[in-house]
């Protein structure tokens, strides 16, 4: 056959990685780019249900698709799924019609469901509210979107694909009705961690060096192992690029300018698949195209207890706030549907949190008691005019925009992603006259046999799942190191029992540089417990020192506290608000982190004479006239303050006197 088309896949969510894997298995050359880490988009902010077909019984086509995908994923990705089962429950007063049509639909389609009366329901789920009248037991399951995405990516790697995270598409050139060069920018310090010159000074990814507009082949040649996941993070380069020159014209001269920035790189692929999820419209926009997408935002609340064993969904017309998903010791309440204009239009509001708690405490009264740990929001996208939010479409820009070389994928769901990927990959192959069948349904995802492979891939791609925490940090995994608390390994975060060794392990990445605290949090779950980081955030920060300087340590502590605050801010009442107040008192009061830091000047530096009260208090805000010492608005002469009065003070001891 000779010629192997090179396909560029944009987006490292569950779908993009699924497409990359499919194409790679079919033998095509594949490069996937993701601007953040894998699963940072809709995939990392969803509700985690592997849907059962019963949920779609009123639209037979979707139901059949979901039915087969639910079974397929259980076969190839069982290690990313927890088979909790699901209950679709109906309360007294809920529409009988909807429940009946659910039953009928399932019967017609021959789906295995089991109807339960109130008593049988309560036997299975004793915590369900008193109003439950009947339920349908369905094969819902809980899926870990982070592990599934990484498993896809690892599967793609195994078949020769290249996965580049922290690499953002910033331009898609169109030349003569054809997609031309795609420009990407690598994030040189993807987590905002301090710049470290590791002396290598060389971009580790590929041949995209200044002024070098290498062809695809020599780029590929340079990488030599495509298996350099997240390799964008290794080289240390000055950040910058387009942000500093936003008005660059998109012409040759402008492109040339940009190529001087060595965080930029060009990719000339034979075909581009835009799988940027809710951001697909923006990516298409880079080529000048519009996409017909609709969007909605959905809120989810993580609570501190797990009152159910199965995914419990209240089955009624209104599907706002209807599901409780069990996640180990936590439960996830979800979700809401608010139409929004796009992924940047999300507004996080306490009202949605209230709605979830109100609605779901009718279903599972116990969700009222535990305190809400945090809330987060995700954005769904689907083809405009589709029957459901789960519909999908392949939008061929050749067809709609008269431009050969790119298709955008609209919509889909995590449950159906493999089938969507199959359709997309088949479509791409047809374009090149390749007729290879899809094999993704028959090949188990990496880690199915030996889960260590997936654990390692999670570490390799720097993704941690909030569900299966600290998998990469099991004792013994790295040398003989153990993370158990012990005489030499104190606990830093008591709520989550995270030890110093774990923190230090999480601080290391491939290049041995320090990370920011948010990464440490995501990797270890430190600061994610009941105290919301109040008791440990500053202690985590201290562990970064002296690897990071004190300014960086402070800044990253501020960053961590800000992140934790963002998550809890909409769930503050009851015990949550009490803890927030205690944290405020500790950080603003005990630690005095709210006011500007004070610098003390010695008496020599600040000529202090005891004047009137007014003068003295003025002096406490004095600045620069004291010469020499870094004077600033927050320096104060030390001599103005209490010197201990007539307290006795010991003399400076003689050197040597102390040594026995």
């Amino acid at each position: 056959m000779g010629y192997t088309p090179h396909i560029l896949v944009i987006g490292g969510g569950v779908l993009g990685t699924g497409i990359a894997r499919d194409l790679a298995i079919r033998g095509l050359d594949v490069t996937l780019v993701e601007r953040g880490t894998l699963a940072t988009g809709a995939t990392g902010r969803m509700q985690g249900i592997l849907y059962s077909a019963a949920r779609f019984a009123d639209s037979p086509d979707m139901a059949k698709l979901v039915h087969s995908e639910n079974e397929t994923l259980r076969e190839i990705a069982g290690h990313c799924i927890e088979d909790t089962g699901g209950l679709l429950v109906s309360h007294a007063g809920d529409s009988d019609e909807r429940f009946e049509s659910l039953l009928e639909g399932c019967a017609e389609l021959d789906f295995p469901v089991e109807e339960l009366d109130a008593e049988a329901v309560r036997e299975r789920e004793p915590e369900l509210g008193g109003d439950v009248e009947r339920a349908l037991a369905v094969p819902d399951a809980v899926v870990d979107p982070f592990r599934l995405t990484v498993a896809n990516a690892k599967g793609a790697l195994e078949y020769g694909a290249e996965i580049r995270s922290h690499t953002e598409i910033i331009d898609v050139a169109v030349e003569d009705g054809t997609i031309g060069t795609v420009t990407v920018r690598r994030d040189p310090s993807p987590t905002g961690k301090p710049e470290v010159d590791d002396g290598r000074g060389e971009p580790a990814t590929d041949g995209g060096r200044p002024g070098e507009t290498g062809t695809r082949d020599d780029q590929r040649g340079d990488t030599d192992g495509k298996e350099v996941p997240g390799s964008g993070r290794r080289g240390a380069h000055a950040p910058g690029g387009l942000d500093t020159s936003p008005s660059l014209p998109d012409d040759v001269a402008g492109r040339f300018e940009r190529m001087k920035d060595d965080s930029l790189d060009e990719i000339d692929a034979d075909y581009v698949v835009n799988a940027a999820g809710p951001w697909a419209g923006e990516v298409a926009g880079l080529a000048g195209f519009d996409l017909p997408l609709s969007f909605s935002q959905g809120a989810m609340v993580v609570v501190d207890d797990c009152p159910v064993d199965a995914v419990v969904t209240r089955w009624r017309e209104d599907d706002e706030g209807n599901t409780v998903v069990p996640y180990g010791t936590n439960a996830l309440l979800g979700t809401t549907h608010r139409d929004v204009a796009g992924p940047h239009d999300v507004t996080e509001e306490g009202a949605e949190v209230d709605l979830l708690v109100d609605e779901l405490s009718e279903v599972v009264p116990a969700v009222w008691d535990p305190h809400a740990l945090r809330s987060y929001w995700g954005v769904r996208s689907w083809p405009e005019g589709a029957d459901s939010e789960h519909g999908f479409a392949i939008y061929d820009h050749g067809e709609y925009d008269d431009c050969w070389g790119m298709s955008s994928v609209l919509g889909g769901s995590l449950t159906t992603h493999r089938a969507v990927a199959e359709a997309v990959a088949g479509d791409v192959c047809r374009k090149f006259g390749i007729s290879r069948t899809c094999r993704t349904a028959g090949i188990p995802l990496p880690g199915s046999e030996d889960e260590q492979i997936l654990d390692d891939a999670m570490a390799e791609f720097d993704v941690d799942s909030p569900l299966v925490r600290r998998t990469r940090r099991q004792p013994g995994q790295r040398g003989s190191e153990t993370f158990e608390a012990g005489p030499d390994n104190p606990v830093v975060c008591e709520c989550q029992a995270v030890t110093r060794a774990e923190i230090q392990d999480a601080m290391r990445d491939e290049s041995g540089t320090a990370l920011d605290l948010n990464d440490v949090r995501i990797r270890t779950s430190a600061s994610m417990g009941e105290c919301q980081g109040g008791l440990c955030a500053h202690r985590l920060a201290a562990e970064l020192y002296p690897t990071c300087d004190s300014e960086t340590t402070e800044a990253t502590l501020d960053g961590l506290l800000a992140e934790r605050w963002k998550g809890q801010r909409h769930t503050l009442w009851g015990e949550g608000l009490q803890i927030a107040m205690q944290n405020y008192a500790l950080h603003a009061g005990t630690m005095n982190r709210k006011s500007e830091s004070t610098v003390l000047l010695s008496s020599r530096e600040a000529d202090v004479s005891t004047g009137s009260d007014d003068q003295e208090n003025e002096k406490s805000g004095m600045s620069g006239k004291t010469g020499g010492v870094s004077p600033s608005a927050n320096s104060v002469p030390l001599g103005l303050f209490d010197d201990g009065g007539d307290r006795e003070r010991s003399e400076r001891p003689m050197w040597g006197e102390r040594q026995r």
Binding site: L577, L638, R647
Partner: protein, 428 residues
């Protein structure tokens, strides 16, 4: 029949009870459900650290107090009463060797380093921290303990070194015992109290000095995380000082805070010595009122009302239950309330208006608490007292960010003192 019943056993409640008993009340009772609360306290008594629009700490207390707004608790009770109250507090400790407190130059703020290396003003402080005064220009050595992550000594030392005009050095050593729990704060303190023997038979105080000694250069003072004993803290510290030939001071850390726990113990000792009845561990579960007066409150060990729930009947009551952090003020998703007497708590409508976007922003929730009149009586929305015989003291009073102002201790002491006086005046 009790003259004065105080609900809540924090600093404000203790001051109210003590003042009442000293000022002639025949029987005073304190309902103190949770002495554990002192674990949150640093033991430092802040009177006024910051005033609006100035970034540097207040120097002279009396001067700045006068410039606070009229409805500030200090102005409600008046400068003279504030002075008397602080003096009463000081007198509790100076004459006593159980828990010495310092007031240094009592009208000037003192400055100390925090467990994150910031500089922080305070007014009254236990002797165990006093050698750490930053407004004393001798060099310092901080020594952290490897097993205790609450104080990253090198980070704190380096941050402090950026803020003071003298040398601050820092190191970490092993605390000479293996913890069996985390955080090991109380465990370390107990071992030092009892001067337990370490594995090689050395008494632990001596073993600790042996760990620290090689780290010392010429510094005349050494700071360690606040773990130096709970009951025998003075003995522990003075033995270390003799051994090390240096002054030793403690740095208050996050929870649990031993200096705060020592303060709590000391206050309860004083109360009991003066004949105040203290009910520990039983919260108020019910209140009976008649017209404008509170008739009695009932208390129950396990927090639920039963037939044999005990009733406390008093002439006058002091509400000293603390703010949101202590549970005196509580919130549900709709609103905010005062827990025991259901006094009015002003708050913005809509939970989204309770917080700001910045973690340490000027959050309205920080100011949740009751409004009080000039006699410290909690008032309803119309500004009239909720009850004739109820006064509020300390953090349960709202309307101001006492945390950022660094005035919580002083406000508790002053209002506790003033409320007792005003209540006795009324009843007589």
């Amino acid at each position: 029949m009790t003259d004065v019943a105080v609900v809540g056993g924090g600093l404000g409640g203790c001051m109210a009870a003590l003042t009442a008993v000293r000022d002639g009340a025949e029987s005073v009772r304190v309902v103190a459900p949770s002495p554990e609360r002192y674990r949150h306290e640093t033991g430092l008594i802040d009177v006024l650290g910051y005033v609006p629009d100035r970034e540097t700490p207040v120097v002279r207390l009396s001067f700045e107090m006068r410039r606070l707004p009229d409805d500030h608790p200090y102005n409600l009770v008046g400068a003279k009463v504030v002075d008397e109250a602080l003096e009463t507090f000081d007198d509790l400790f100076v004459a006593d060797d159980g828990l010495p407190y310092e007031r240094g130059q009592s009208d000037r703020n003192a400055l100390f380093g925090t467990a994150t290396g910031s500089v922080r003003p305070t007014s009254r402080y236990p002797e165990s921290v006093s050698a750490g005064l930053l407004s004393d220009d001798r060099p310092v050595r901080l020594v952290g303990f490897e097993q205790l992550t609450h104080l990253g000594a090198t980070l704190v030392g380096d941050r402090l070194a950026e803020s003071v005009p003298y040398d601050v050095a820092a190191t970490s050593v092993d605390f000479p015992m293996t913890p069996s729990e985390y955080p090991p704060v109380v465990e370390f303190a107990r071992a030092l109290d009892r001067n337990e023997e370490t594995a090689d038979g050395t008494p632990i105080r001596e073993a600790l000095a042996n760990e620290i000694r090689p780290e010392l250069d010429v510094e005349p003072r050494v700071g360690v995380p606040a773990v130096l004993g709970l009951e025998e803290s003075e003995a522990v510290r003075s033995e270390l000082e003799t051994d090390l030939q240096a002054e030793v001071f403690e740095i208050p850390i996050g929870r649990p805070n031993l200096p705060g726990m020592r303060l709590g113990r000391r206050l309860f000792e004083v109360l009991e010595a003066e004949g105040v009845i203290v009910d520990e561990g039983a919260p108020v579960v019910g209140v009976e009122t008649a017209g404008e007066r509170i008739e009695n409150v009932s208390i129950a060990e396990d927090g639920t009302e039963t037939e044999d729930t005990e009733q406390v009947r008093a002439d006058t009551y002091v509400l000293a239950t603390g703010g949101l952090a202590a549970g005196g003020i509580e919130a549900d998703r709709e609103g905010v309330s005062e827990r025991v007497f259901d006094c009015h708590v002003p708050h913005p409508d809509g939970r989204e208006n309770w917080t700001e976007a910045e973690p340490l922003g000027d959050h309205p929730f920080v100011e949740f608490g009751v409004n009080v009149d000039g006699e410290l009586r909690p008032c309803g929305p119309d500004g009239t007292p909720e009850y004739d015989n109820l006064r509020a003291v300390g953090r349960v009073i709202g309307g101001r960010d006492f945390v950022a102002e660094q005035s919580t201790g002083g406000v508790a002491i002053s209002t506790g003192y003033a409320a007792a006086l005003s209540a006795l005046r009324d009843e007589s």
